[in-house]
């Protein structure tokens, strides 16, 4: 960064002559030091996973959750400055509630991403504030069946005009990643934080855009990818935290929930096994090279 020291990095809301906002770029640096977070958009649901670095042995295992529920059908995880993330979650919950108050129905994932993108972007405009030191991954499942409006008491006529059309499906899984600049895109697989490079490489190997993978498969892949992404950082201990959202006919009944312990432990077992197998293979290759 040749422009450092030119004075343009001291304030938000001031462009450098080559069109950059340095405060936002420094916020991205804060994200790059945080524990890895990933999200996978599967055929029938979404998985969120985070590598929760154990900073103190005095933490109770399983406490201090990093993945937050925004609304029944929405969850979020973030890498970077955790207090900033907590505020992001508070705001997202307010937005989801305001949407329900106005429209009497749950907020679509895309609209929540848009609202939160707008919110983060506002923190790049003024010298009195600093940008958010987080990149957040927002996951949701918009119901595929016409969902009852909150407090609805009847379903209207069963036949004729105004009747419900059978066989129509809507919605589906949604996954969005929002950066400190307020930039957000929809993703098949999203990764951020310290291990994002390794995680992205693994995500690209999955066929998420084509045929897609099942939610159960997604949970296993998410666990494996967090373990792979942690591999370069082996000396530090971590805890794997995972949550998932399926359609109303799936395992979570359209809700954002923590992955049950048994499912998570099985996924972790497979992840560790996959890592060990990889190490063995590499070991063999090294041996072969030695022989040559």
């Amino acid at each position: 960064m040749t422009s450092i020291g030119t004075g343009y990095d001291l304030s938000n809301s001031i462009f450098s002559p080559d069109g950059r906002n340095f405060q936002v770029e420094y916020a991205v640096k804060a994200v790059e030091n945080g524990g890895t977070s990933i999200g996978i958009r599967c055929k029938d649901g979404v998985v969120l996973a985070v590598e929760k670095v154990i900073a103190s042995k005095l933490w109770r295992p399983g406490a201090n959750k990093r993945i937050a529920t925004i609304d029944r059908h929405l969850g979020a995880v973030y890498s970077g400055m955790i207090p900033d993330g907590r505020h992001f979650v508070d705001r997202a919950r307010d937005e989801a509630r305001a949407w329900r108050d106005t429209w009497k129905s749950p907020i679509p994932t895309a609209d929540l991403a848009s609202r939160m993108g707008g919110y983060l972007q506002a923190y790049t405009l003024y010298s009195s504030v600093r940008p958010f030191g987080i990149t957040a991954i927002v996951a949701g499942f918009d119901p595929s069946q016409p969902s009852p409006v909150d407090g609805e008491v009847g379903r209207g006529p069963s036949v004729g005009p105004g009747g419900v059309k059978e066989g129509l499906t809507h919605g589906g899984p949604g996954l969005y990643m929002i950066e400190p600049s307020g930039l957000y895109w929809g993703y098949y697989g999203a990764a951020t934080g310290k291990g994002r490079q390794a995680a992205k490489a693994e995500l690209e190997k999955l066929d998420l855009a084509g045929e897609g993978i099942s939610l159960e498969q997604g949970v296993k892949e998410a666990a494996r990818i967090i373990y792979v992404a942690h591999d370069d950082n082996k000396d530090k201990e971590f805890e794997l935290e995972m949550s998932w959202i399926s359609d109303v006919d799936g395992p979570t009944k359209g809700r954002h929930e923590e992955v049950p312990r048994a499912v998570r432990e099985e996924a972790e077992r497979l992840a560790k096994k996959a890592l060990d197998d990889d190490d063995e293979e590499e070991g063999k290759k090294d041996d072969e090279k030695m022989e040559e």
Partner: protein
């Protein structure tokens, strides 16, 4: 020409005479709900050994008009409690939304699935807690002279996973008994249910099938004798295993033979 904002969009005084602007006067009493508009009739419920059975018909009346015939007045909350609403339907919708947002708030801090206790986390929004909350809410509203015009039955489990059944009305009055009914049901259904569950001990001996039968019998009597009722109804059984809710039940084996002996039914011959 009168340019004051009060006169904007109003007929001209010089052409049409003085405009009656008294409704814009901010003084005077506030008017709160004086009576319910669209109403649901009775809700009946009875405890049995492992849980509670609760039922209400699917009718919302507009006065004596059977206006909406597809109105589900049993609501499930936190997958473990059913609330049956009698009285004003719009107030019921308000309460439904209110409780939905309460349940969402509660899910923010959902107890961890791998908590040390093992097994599924205990619902903090259980029936006993919901009933207490709703009774306080209803009382607060009546104290503002703006009551929520409902009579509710809350069916579920209490803190010790024992069957729980209690009522709360628009005044905030609470009542608990092995069997409960609101509206006309308190006169027509309650005596029938008391025959089967006169006290807690008797209710604890009832089986699920017996309790369902009693409630179905009550729904039939109510349809026979309550002019604001319907033969399609919802029935829910709440136990430790969750809520089994059926929303489109039909009354079976109706027999109107008894009506022939009553003056006023059908064509009058004498």
């Amino acid at each position: 020409m009168d340019h004051r904002p009060q006169a904007w969009g109003r007929p001209r005084d010089d052409v049409y005479g003085a405009y009656d602007a008294s409704f814009m006067n901010p003084n005077g009493p506030n008017q709160a709900t004086q009576s319910p508009i669209v109403t649901g009739t009775s809700v009946v419920a009875i405890k049995f050994s492992e849980g509670v059975v609760i039922a209400a018909d699917n009718l919302a009346s507009y006065g004596s008009l059977a206006r909406f015939t597809d109105v589900k007045r049993l609501r499930t909350f936190a997958d473990s409690t059913v609330i049956g609403f009698g009285g004003d339907v719009s107030d019921m919708q308000y309460l439904d939304r209110h409780l939905t947002s309460l349940a969402i708030d509660e899910s923010y801090s959902a107890p961890s699935l791998d908590s040390d206790a093992g097994g599924p986390p205990k619902a903090r929004l259980n029936a006993a807690n919901l009933h207490k909350y709703l009774a306080k809410l209803l009382y607060a509203r009546r104290s503002k002279f703006d009551p929520l015009w409902n009579h509710l039955l809350v069916a579920g489990l209490d803190d010790d996973d024992k069957p729980f059944l209690a009522a709360a009305d628009l005044l905030g009055t609470t009542f608990s008994a092995p069997s409960l009914a609101t509206g006309f049901g308190s006169m027509l259904a309650q005596p029938i249910m008391r025959r089967f569950a006169p006290d807690e001990e008797a209710a604890a001996r009832l089986t699920r099938e017996q309790a369902v039968d009693v409630v179905k019998q009550c729904m039939k009597v109510l349809f026979y004798r309550d002019a604001r009722s319907l033969d399609s109804y919802s029935i829910a059984v709440v136990t430790k295993d969750g809520v089994d809710l059926k929303e489109n039940e039909k009354l079976e084996n109706q027999s109107w033979a008894f009506a022939e002996r009553i003056r006023g039914y059908g064509t009058q011959t004498a």
